[in-house]
């Protein structure tokens, strides 16, 4: 029965399909000629190959070439620190919001305490993230009130054993300048907001 119902086609559909594949094949070479020397391994070439104009194949040959990641790309958090007179100061106050909001509970924090009085001080003594468990949801960065933890752009984290996948404070820490380089728009926005808040505070104080 099925032979009858499509008898009128005589293989045209197959030819069309092969034609599509052939066109694709041809376009790749034509596109290579059109963008001679610029299609591969150049930033413009990669940008072109992820635009709507692209024709032919647009495979990016990782790891020879890498797709640029957008600013919002998130992969495993890092801790921000400021360098003041050669000393490293983490922004983290160990308030405990990130371990609470973390969906798979992969953040462990030990709050520092004053060695003399024993009272807690706003600084993390230890900070661990098990990146095997981290699901890259970005909640810690989203809900951190101090902009102290942010999502990274580095996605090449393969290692030889599982133990090295538990990141401690030293391994998580990155300078603020790094953050400004990977997320310039976010950084500028936060800086502006901080400055404004600071100005308001000063104004209020002088007013009072």
């Amino acid at each position: 029965m099925s032979e009858q119902k499509n008898a009128y086609m005589y293989g045209m559909g197959v030819l069309k399909g092969l034609g599509l594949a052939f066109r694709h094949f041809l376009e790749t070479y034509l596109d290579d000629l059109r963008h001679w020397g610029k299609r591969y391994k150049t930033p413009e070439g990669i940008a072109y190959r992820s635009s709507k104009e692209v024709r032919g194949i647009f495979t990016v040959q990782y790891p020879d070439e890498k797709l640029p990641v957008p600013e919002e790309f998130r992969f495993v958090p890092f801790l921000l620190y400021e360098e003041k007179d050669g000393k490293i100061e983490y922004r983290c106050t160990s308030c405990g919001i990130c371990p609470k909001v973390c969906p798979p509970q992969c953040i462990w924090i030990v709050r520092a305490s004053d060695p003399n009085t024993g009272r807690p001080i706003p600084d993390p003594a230890e900070f661990y993230i098990d990146i095997d468990i981290c699901m890259n949801c970005g909640y810690c960065a989203e809900y951190c009130p101090f902009d102290a933890i942010k999502m990274d752009h580095n996605y090449e984290l393969a290692s030889y054993d599982r133990k090295s996948n538990v990141y401690d404070k030293a391994k998580l820490g990155k300078p603020v300048s790094y953050y400004a380089s990977v997320r310039p728009i976010n950084f500028a926005r936060e800086e502006a907001a901080n400055r404004e808040a600071e100005e308001q505070r000063v104004a209020r104080r002088s007013h009072a």
């Binding site: 499509n6 399909g17 160990s94 909001v101 973390c102 969906p103 953040i107 661990y128 728009i185």
Partner: protein
């Protein structure tokens, strides 16, 4: 008729006096029925009141009250919101009548409840475990069941802060003391038994040729779990007569991780990224359904701009899903990977957009209760416009041109895996499978949510109910999605994207809520019960890929074994969602 039905629904207690009563708990809806009358009530609801479509069944364990509850969401296939019917059982010996005879679509869902809650269904034709394996100890969704590496009832765990020295789960709870066996089970002397119960369900037909008197042997063939055609780890035990399928049982659960138990340990907000992992092709629409359910409980609604962004993401995700499906379907048909990669090219471009907006290509985690996580980055609207107005219509036309009339596709797909409209409704199929069978049922129209009522689009319907029509319905749907997207892009307003301040501790008032969206695979529902605590008391996912498998046997019987692969491909399952 429909008017009459509405009045009848409001007075269900008058139609069934004494055996049905309103659910009086605060923030709960629907009716409580006496379990012994369930079947007759369901029969009358279906035949007299037009509730012909069973949407979802789930169990709830009210551990402190020593009660179990079975919750039925039934609908009319003509549209409208679901009617919620509940039956309460004794927790020590929970037995209830099966509704498979009324709604055949209940088969797998009842098996799931038996598996996870231990509620027995009297009269179920094949009551075996479905997600866990036979011999598993206990029923994991019961509140007193503790999983391996159990730490606390709910997150956040206290060991993480302020004194949180890292300890891996294995260190805390070594595997050796973490295994429980059923009473009388000795793992040393245990010999694995062949799955007789599974195969027993298959041997229904005796085959003897009347004319020649020759009786032929029938063969059982297991497809999967490690089989490329099953799109993951899914197994089908098929009974064959020659090459013809005469019985087929799906076996699932290989990817089961008890998403619902994890969800009940999680905080409400913490569940959002987990929903991404259900149907990993469509994380945006999973987010959508879950946020609708919680927003209903919280009584908030997102601002205008967020609504538009949500719809835009949901429709882009539908195109992504259908493109991926075309690729896989053609793969299943033997067009090895060339068309697949052509379809994936467009998908990549859309995923680039998702990545720029949400930060991740597939695990988007973009929706929040009362809005979305962040506003669209600069320049992304231009990219979306280019795709929606220019590239995608062109490329979908291409697909249409090359696939729709390809004779191999038509030979293999036409008249294969037919599901009649009556069967499609009875088996609770949803989405493109239902619409390909001639039932114009689309939640975006049947029970409009978000702002879908503002858009001009058609519900795609085809009438043959075969694989080819399921393909065509999806093709039509992509065009309709483009139509919606074009309207969204024209009308998207400026403004805030989040209602109120973003909060990490979400206060969800006590009550129940069922939020559902028309996902690319069909009705995706989230049934949530909150008791006012930070973690949901019950969190259930009505998974379209799971329930759409119920009629798989019906579709396959009478077809050749090679067609089974195509039929399964046309249902469009994702194992992350099927097995949950």
């Amino acid at each position: 008729m429909s008017n009459q039905n509405i009045t009848l629904q409001s007075d269900l207690t008058h139609i069934f006096p004494d055996i049905i009563s309103r659910d009086e708990r605060v923030n709960f809806e629907g009716y409580l029925v006496k379990p012994e009358h369930l079947s007759s009530i369901m029969m009358r609801l279906r035949d007299e009141l037009g509730y012909d479509y069973l949407s979802s069944i789930t169990g709830v364990d009210y551990f402190p009250d020593n009660k179990m509850e079975v919750v039925y969401h039934i609908r009319k296939s003509t549209g409208g919101s679901p009617l919620v019917v509940k039956a309460q059982l004794d927790r020590d010996n929970p037995v209830i009548l099966s509704v498979v005879s009324v709604y055949p679509g209940a088969e797998f869902q009842e098996r799931e409840i038996w598996d996870l809650f231990g509620i027995k269904f009297d009269g179920h034709p094949d009551l075996r475990r479905i997600l866990m394996w036979e011999g598993f100890n206990g029923h994991p969704l019961r509140k007193d069941w503790k999983e391996g590496y159990y730490e606390e009832e709910g997150k956040p765990f206290k060991s993480r802060w302020p004194v949180g020295y890292y300890k891996s789960a294995e260190q805390k709870n070594p595997l050796g003391t973490n295994i429980e066996y059923p009473a009388g089970f000795d793992p040393e002397s245990w010999v694995p038994v062949p799955e007789e119960a599974l195969y027993a369900g298959l041997s229904k037909m005796e085959r003897k040729d009347e004319e020649t008197g020759i009786s032929t042997d029938q063969v059982i063939v297991n497809l999967g779990p490690q089989h490329p055609s099953t799109h993951g780890v899914f197994r089908m035990a098929a009974k064959l007569d020659g090459e013809t399928v005469i019985g087929l049982k799906p076996v699932m659960g290989y990817l089961h991780r008890n998403h619902e138990k994890i969800g009940e340990r999680n905080t409400f907000l913490g569940n959002m990224p987990y929903t991404d992992r259900l149907d990993y092709f469509n994380s945006m629409s999973n987010n959508f359904g879950y946020s609708l359910a919680i927003e209903k409980l919280m009584g908030i609604a997102p601002p205008e701009r967020a609504e538009y962004i949500r719809v835009m993401m949901a429709e882009l995700t539908r195109i992504v899903n259908h493109l991926a499906l075309f690729g896989f379907l053609l793969n299943d048909l033997g067009a090895y990977f060339t068309p697949f990669l052509y379809a994936f090219e467009e998908r990549e471009l859309i995923l680039d957009i998702f990545e720029a907006i949400s930060g991740s290509r597939m695990m988007c985690n973009y929706f929040r209760f009362g809005g979305v996580a962040r506003d669209l980055p600069e320049g992304i609207m231009e990219k979306i416009k280019d795709l929606v107005f220019d590239r995608l219509p062109r490329k979908i036309d291409d697909l249409d041109l090359y696939i729709t009339n390809n004779e191999i596709v038509r030979h293999r797909a036409e008249g294969v895996g037919v599901l009649t409209p009556e069967q499609a409704i009875a088996f609770s199929t949803v989405g493109p499978v239902l619409r390909a069978s001639g039932v114009p049922y689309d939640l975006r129209r049947a029970q409009p949510y978000s702002i879908y009522h503002r858009f001009d689009f058609d519900v795609a319907v085809r009438y043959h109910g075969d694989v080819y029509d399921r393909y065509l319905v999806r093709l039509d749907e992509m065009y309709q999605s483009l139509r919606i997207l074009q309207q969204v892009i024209k009308n998207i307003p400026e403004g805030p994207i989040q209602e109120g301040k973003p909060q990490y501790q979400v206060r969800v008032p006590a009550g129940e809520s069922y939020g559902c969206v028309e996902g690319p695979k069909g009705e995706l529902g989230f049934y949530v019960i909150s008791n006012g605590k930070p973690n949901p008391w019950r969190y259930h996912v009505r998974a379209p890929s799971f329930i759409n498998l119920t009629p798989l046997e019906t579709m396959c019987i009478g077809n050749k074994i090679a067609d089974v692969v195509v039929i399964l491909g046309s249902i469009d399952i994702v194992l992350g969602e099927t097995d949950r």
